[in-house]
């Protein structure tokens, strides 16, 4: 289902709201956001001088994020929507169009599908950074006592642990920059429609007509 509320106010049959994010996707997004912010806070606040017992909160939040990411992947696979985030030839044409328009100080001629190239790149940036932290964080769980096992820091060689820690730290540092950019763009006036869609689910028909190519994001009329 991609449209909401049967008819528009002028009596036409076209729905005036178009579903952009279904409720389960929105819930997963905001759970993931809360987890990432908690993980960054528990990781970096002690480093900058705010000392508190952070380890338990950090790893438990990481487990919740792992579950949210798994559910997201399962939902995408089950619904066959993998391709909506895929970068294809049309996206390369969009990049050329945006670059040319920026140099000419003009508006781009092409309209994106459901997601712009920038939104796809942010998603992929999050995917790489979050998956790296989750995989390395899962290995690091071997070094602490959990309800499921006793710590065993000798499962990997010291040099291997060093690589695991470097990857975990590098991905976490990258997440700081990506989160900053993501929040900045989410709060920009011209992007608030996407933030509202992530809160309430929909964009208006007018926003859809103005900002999206209906041949690339097919919705019910």
């Amino acid at each position: 289902m991609t449209t909401l509320s049967g008819a528009s106010s002028d009596g036409s049959a076209r729905a005036d709201r178009i579903l952009r994010h279904a409720l389960p996707d929105r819930v997963l997004h905001w759970i993931s956001a809360a987890c990432v912010l908690t993980l960054l806070g528990t990781a970096f606040l002690p480093i900058v001088g705010f000392e508190f017992p952070w380890v338990a909160v950090h790893w438990m939040t990481g487990v919740v994020l792992f579950g949210a990411v798994l559910l997201h992947i399962v939902r995408v696979l089950a619904r066959g929507t993998w391709g909506s985030m895929w970068l294809g030839r049309a996206d390369l044409a969009d990049v050329r169009d945006v670059a040319g328009a920026t140099l000419r100080r003009a508006l781009p001629k092409r309209k994106p599908g459901k997601y712009s190239v920038a939104q796809k790149l942010v998603h992929h940036g999050f995917a790489v950074a979050v998956l790296t932290t989750l995989v390395t964080g899962s290995l690091m769980l071997l070094r602490i006592d959990t309800p499921w096992w006793q710590r065993n820091p000798y499962r990997l060689a010291d040099a291997t642990w060093g690589i695991v820690y470097v990857l975990h730290g590098l991905a976490a540092l990258l997440l700081i920059t990506i989160v900053m950019m993501h929040v900045y763009f989410a709060l920009r006036p011209e992007k608030l429609k996407f933030t509202r869609a992530m809160l309430r689910g929909w964009v208006t028909r007018k926003e859809f007509d103005e900002h999206h190519d209906p041949t690339r994001w097919r919705v019910d009329p």
């Binding site: 060093g162 470097v166 540092l173 920059t177 900053m180 900045y184």
Partner: protein
């Protein structure tokens, strides 16, 4: 400013410990710089959005 943190193991060998946390402010700074550059571009140079 070091890129990585190292320590010495019980045999005195240098062991990789992880990223140097001095780098934290580089990533914060890059985020701030990108935001400022984009905001200035949109404010002063970009054409009005549709």
């Amino acid at each position: 400013m070091e890129l990585f943190r190292f320590s010495r193991d019980v045999y005195g060998r240098e062991t990789l410990q992880g990223m140097s946390w001095d780098r934290l402010w580089v990533f914060v700074g890059v985020g701030c710089a990108l935001i400022v550059v984009h905001a200035v571009y949109r404010l002063l140079f970009a054409p009005k959005q549709r």
